[in-house]
Symmetry: C3
Subunit: 138 residues, 3 copies
């Protein structure tokens, strides 16, 4: 029921996981149930976001950079750099898990919904994601 | 295990779904398990919020309007208007799914917890929500 | 499948629940599945956060205090004090439920991920949390 994904990120920004998640659900054989997507890190997160206009994710990035500025003197946890603590905060304000309905053998997302991993560190990382599929093969 | 709800919103603001979600759980016959509520859009979201004083949701709305201002020059994605990009951001900062314990045949919410759909667009919309109930009929 | 935890908080701040959640999963006998952690309140919430440097959670607290200031004149819902409405907003912006993969009989968290209850009120509270474990004993 669990499937591990490795996501190599090019640094801060979003990576579309929708196709890979749908492939896991298809391979699971589950027809009706739930699919939980989980990221095993506290400086990257998961979001459901508009999937048609890439500008939406650029605007989201700009908003996050303004809301939680790198190098903010408020932060004392700076061991790994200016983007360290902002990454943890962006992660807490978004999502580590997404629980999606599985209907008729696939994640029943809205037309404009995509599943994205959001890398919050500026450097490239390898991120571990677990996709769990629960339900009946009916 | 899935039940579709259609929520007609009068524009920006919250709609109480608690009763409808509890009715789905009751009708499912599940006694012990989980209930996942999912919204199939990226410009409306779900929250668990205080259910006694409507002022709480008015204050929440005022806070969101200040945090993510309509018409902010930061945003380039403005095709559908000043409230378009703010709606996507409010959605990412809140929730597309809520996973609730089902105990004794009902969602075991706290006394002051209500399930709300939060419409982030200023115009009325018809929103699709899926309530999934998983568990044993014990 | 459900286990109730009572968390006594010393007022605003985070309480580490990781060990208690792992104990519930171990006691459940479930080997592969999902663990849902749910808090039955709207002025306390749940987060997955970096678990090595306590400064991370102090910085997070400082950020939240700046983002949602106690006593902000924007808020009309002030019956229970200056920290009342900020507590509801912090709760909405973070999480009431966390859905975690159970692999090999334990929550498969990342090395640096801890499960925390975040008390948002300044006074001590007793908080109710439900840990639900679903899956196969394989």
């Amino acid at each position: 029921m669990h499937h591990a994904l490795v996501v190599r990120t090019p640094g801060r920004g979003t990576s579309d996981l929708t196709r890979r998640v749908q492939e896991v659900v298809a391979a699971s054989g589950v027809r009706e149930g739930l699919c939980n997507v989980f990221v095993h890190h506290t400086s990257a997160s998961l979001i459901l976001c508009e999937n048609a206009d890439p500008q939406v994710r650029r605007d989201l990035e700009a908003f996050a950079a303004r809301l939680v500025p790198d190098g903010d003197p408020l932060f004392a946890h700076v061991d790994e750099g200016d983007d360290d603590m902002p990454a943890h905060i962006r992660s807490v304000l978004t999502h580590s898990s997404l629980c999606l309905p599985v209907v008729d053998g696939r994640c029943d997302l809205g037309t404009w919904q995509g599943v994205y991993l959001w890398e919050h560190r500026t450097a490239p990382h390898e991120r571990r994601v677990t996709v769990s599929v629960l339900g009946s093969r009916g």
